[in-house]
């Protein structure tokens, strides 16, 4: 399992932190640093939710320090809905 401490700053764009559904729900409308809020997003796999490495690394909210230990996966974004 890859975690935050296993990757370099230059690799942050590749990875995201994998959440359980319960963890995703617990992060909604919660701040991870002053004036910055978590934003869990769904990946290309239905019901697979993740947060960015930036949110994990920069989290200073004592209630959510566990995000720093989330397993990392390669990010595969959910296709965006079409717009005109």
């Amino acid at each position: 399992m890859i975690t935050l401490k296993d990757i370099k700053r230059a690799q942050w764009d590749l990875y995201v932190g994998l959440l359980t559904i319960e963890q995703k729900d617990s992060l909604l409308i919660q701040w991870y640093a002053p004036d910055s809020f978590f934003n869990p997003v769904e990946t290309a796999i239905e019901n697979q939710w993740v947060i960015s490495v930036e949110e994990m690394a920069n989290c200073t909210n004592e209630e959510f320090m566990w995000v720093k230990d989330l397993p990392l996966i390669i990010y595969e974004p959910k296709p965006s809905p079409p717009i005109n």
């Binding site: 764009d13 002053p34 809020f37 934003n39 947060i51 965006s80 005109n84």
Partner: protein, 268 residues
């Protein structure tokens, strides 16, 4: 006599002797100092001198290097949604070069709802100073889209540039060879829409503007019926939302913002 006037120390003292009250309110709220404060003060002076200041509803200089310093609206530096203070979500990075959304889940909510902030749909602008050249197919920089009403700006996606202000259909697009610079998308009449890059017109559109979206404008992505999507990875060193700007105002706007970012050594 003319030479004497030009070099008068008294004139220099009047111009630079104090801080503009609007700039000072922002400086106090954001906690910036030094060159950032000086540059912000000059920006306000320049915008007022060009008669652009009153056309702004929200101005985001992105100074300081934290979310807490970059969230403020220069036009109304009050910590409330009603003042269009930004709320950041997702993994953005804050630095002296501005706000860098990560292209994955980062954006800023302006809380500015076009349908309520504007009395007419025929005048409006959005601007974005991009320090990143990227070309993601799903990248957009500013926007609010309901099922039928669109206000959005995309600097470069699939090689294209576009904007819509109060439109209801597909936009007019133009090739965008890179996404570095200051972009102003403006509507000045129901059938006149233009994009200026670094003060030069690069797109014109006669598509009709009819009605504005009734949801918040987001920076760094699109707000699709209250769900963020189309996340951008373009670093933002200035953004604004306001009334429509004429060609001359767009050029003066660029000059003021470019001077601002040059003073901060982050111009592109």
């Amino acid at each position: 006599m003319i030479i004497s006037k030009a070099i008068s120390p008294f004139r220099i003292k009047r111009r630079n002797g104090g801080t503009d009250a609007d700039a000072q309110a922002f400086i106090t709220a954001s906690g910036i100092s030094g060159t950032e404060a000086t540059a912000t003060n000059q920006l306000v002076i320049d915008l007022k001198s060009a008669n652009i200041w009153t056309k702004m509803k929200a101005v985001y200089p992105f100074v300081g290097n934290t979310a807490s310093s970059q969230k403020w609206n220069l036009k109304n530096p009050v910590d409330s949604n009603a003042a269009y203070r930004l709320v950041f979500s997702g993994g953005g990075t804050f630095s002296a070069n501005g706000y860098l959304p990560n292209g994955t889940n980062a954006y800023a909510n302006t809380f500015l709802i076009p349908s309520t902030a504007y009395s007419v749909a025929s005048s409006g602008h959005m601007s974005y100073y991009s320090r990143t050249d990227s070309n993601g197919v799903n990248e957009r920089e500013v926007g609010a889209l309901t099922a039928t009403n669109y206000s959005d700006l995309g600097l470069r996606y699939s090689g294209n540039l576009y904007m819509r202000w109060s439109e209801t259909g597909s936009p007019t697009q133009v090739a965008s060879p890179n996404s570095l610079g200051f972009y102003v998308g403006t509507r000045t009449a129901i059938n006149v829409q233009k994009i200026f890059k670094n003060g030069t017109q690069v797109l014109t559109s006669a598509l009709i503007g009819s009605a504005l979206p009734n949801i918040n404008l987001y920076l760094g992505c699109l707000n699709l019926s209250n769900i963020p999507n189309y996340y951008s990875a373009k670093q933002c060193a200035f953004a604004s939302i306001g009334d429509g700007l004429t060609d001359a105002e767009a050029l003066a706007f660029y000059n003021a913002v470019q001077t601002f970012n040059t003073t901060l050594a982050r111009q592109v």
